[in-house]
């Protein structure tokens, strides 16, 4: 086994999720056809696929479509964020200012308050959870920096 390039490209959670879903489909499809090759071979990565899928299905990327993300990438360009910052925004889908501050380095110096609001609005519009009738209003997330005593 030779390592030619250990970090060739970064993948977003959505891309990994979609690949894993297809891969599961392929394995189940193969099993359904009852081809007579050793079953353990085509299921060698089944454990890790299942565990990773379970994790990713709980993340914001679970309901993202490729088109949505493309639109967002186009819309976020004017803010001149680095590639890894944009990647993290897509993965994490920040809902409040404090979350965005975590993802963007030196957020205060680089972005004005209006720009931060604009980014959050873009995130809500393009990547936010699918609109549910009653949850829509309360779900906006208060950008309050103070933690709430449980």
């Amino acid at each position: 086994m030779e390592i030619e390039e250990s970090q060739e490209a970064l993948l977003s959670n959505v891309e990994v999720l979609h690949f894993l879903r297809e891969e599961r489909q392929r394995q189940f499809g193969a099993k359904a056809q009852k081809k007579n090759w050793p079953r353990h071979l085509s299921g060698a990565n089944a454990t890790i696929l299942l565990e990773t899928l379970t994790h990713l299905e709980t993340q914001p990327c679970a309901h993202h479509e490729a088109e949505q993300v493309k639109d967002f990438l186009e819309a976020i360009k004017p803010f001149q964020l680095s590639q890894s910052e944009v990647l993290q925004i897509v993965n994490q889908v920040p809902e409040s200012t404090v979350e965005l501050h975590l993802l963007i380095e030196e957020c205060e110096e680089r972005l004005s308050e209006e720009q931060i609001e604009a980014i959050l609005e873009l995130v809500r519009k393009n990547l936010g959870p699918p609109v549910e009738p009653e949850a829509e209003q309360e779900d906006q997330g208060n950008p309050d920096v103070e933690p709430v005593p449980a």
Binding site: M1, E2, I3, E4, E5, S6, Q7, E8, A9, L10, L11, S12, N13, E15, V16, F19, L20, E23, K35, W37, P38, H40, L41, S42, A44, N45, T47, I48, L49, E51, T52, T54, H55, Q59, S84, Q88, N91, Q92, S96, V98, E99, H101, L102, L103, G141, N142, D144, V145, P147, V148, P149, A150
Partner: protein, 210 residues
């Protein structure tokens, strides 16, 4: 969190595999070797992503089973968050050494006590870490219970080569309990992530949702 790595390898296929489409047989053989394994200085391999180049297959005179050997260049999906990356996981357990966080498919994430929100204490009876969040009248206890969702920042990664070592390294006396020896070295965890939660917005998700 995830990235693609380009690797190449000589893949051995026994004749029983020849009736299958070659790319499929190669992919499965590679997954058997790599999936769910940590590659040193690469990360945790999830699965083969695609095959870039499949060379000619050879029968080698010394292979008594008559298996074919094929040179393949391929890409794998690897779990390797970059340093400074933010991620969300679940608390697996709390010990004096810190908080262990799990992502479901990856368990070796450690938040050391000094990387927790300050001021904090370890509750011996409950066996959990507590953030003593200061309020007007004293402080409010914020518990870090196992199973809670937690947002953290990756601060460093430790790869340990876990391949078998020469015999003279083995009979070392076992590490004295309670010593602060490096967790990764003692348990020989191949890939350990250190994380921190001492920033606004980090820690239990429920702390910051109003």
């Amino acid at each position: 969190m995830f990235l693609l790595s380009r690797l190449s390898s000589l893949v051995r296929l026994s004749p029983s595999q020849w009736k299958r489409p070659l790319p499929e047989a190669l992919t499965d053989a590679l997954n058997v070797q790599l999936a769910n394994k940590v590659m040193h200085n690469v990360g945790l391999v999830l699965s083969v992503y695609d095959l870039l180049c499949v060379g000619d297959s050879y029968l080698l005179p010394m292979d008594w089973e008559g298996a074919s050997h094929t040179r393949v260049t391929f890409r794998v999906i690897v779990f390797r968050p970059f340093v400074e990356e933010i991620a969300v996981g679940k608390i697996k357990s709390c010990t004096r050494e810190g908080v262990l966080v799990s992502l479901g498919f990856f368990d070796d994430i450690l938040i050391k006590p000094e990387a927790l929100q300050h001021p904090k204490r370890f509750d011996e009876t409950e066996q959990v870490w507590v953030w003593e969040y200061p309020t007007d009248e004293g402080h409010h206890d914020m518990f870090m219970d196992p199973g809670e969702e937690i947002r953290f920042r990756v601060t460093s990664e430790v790869f340990v080569d876990t391949s078998p070592t020469a015999p003279e390294a083995a009979p070392k006396e076992p590490p004295t309990s309670g010593s602060n020896a490096d967790l990764a070295e003692v348990k020989r965890i191949p890939y350990l992530l250190h994380a921190s939660v001492n920033e606004p917005g980090l820690g239990l998700i429920s702390w910051w949702n109003s």
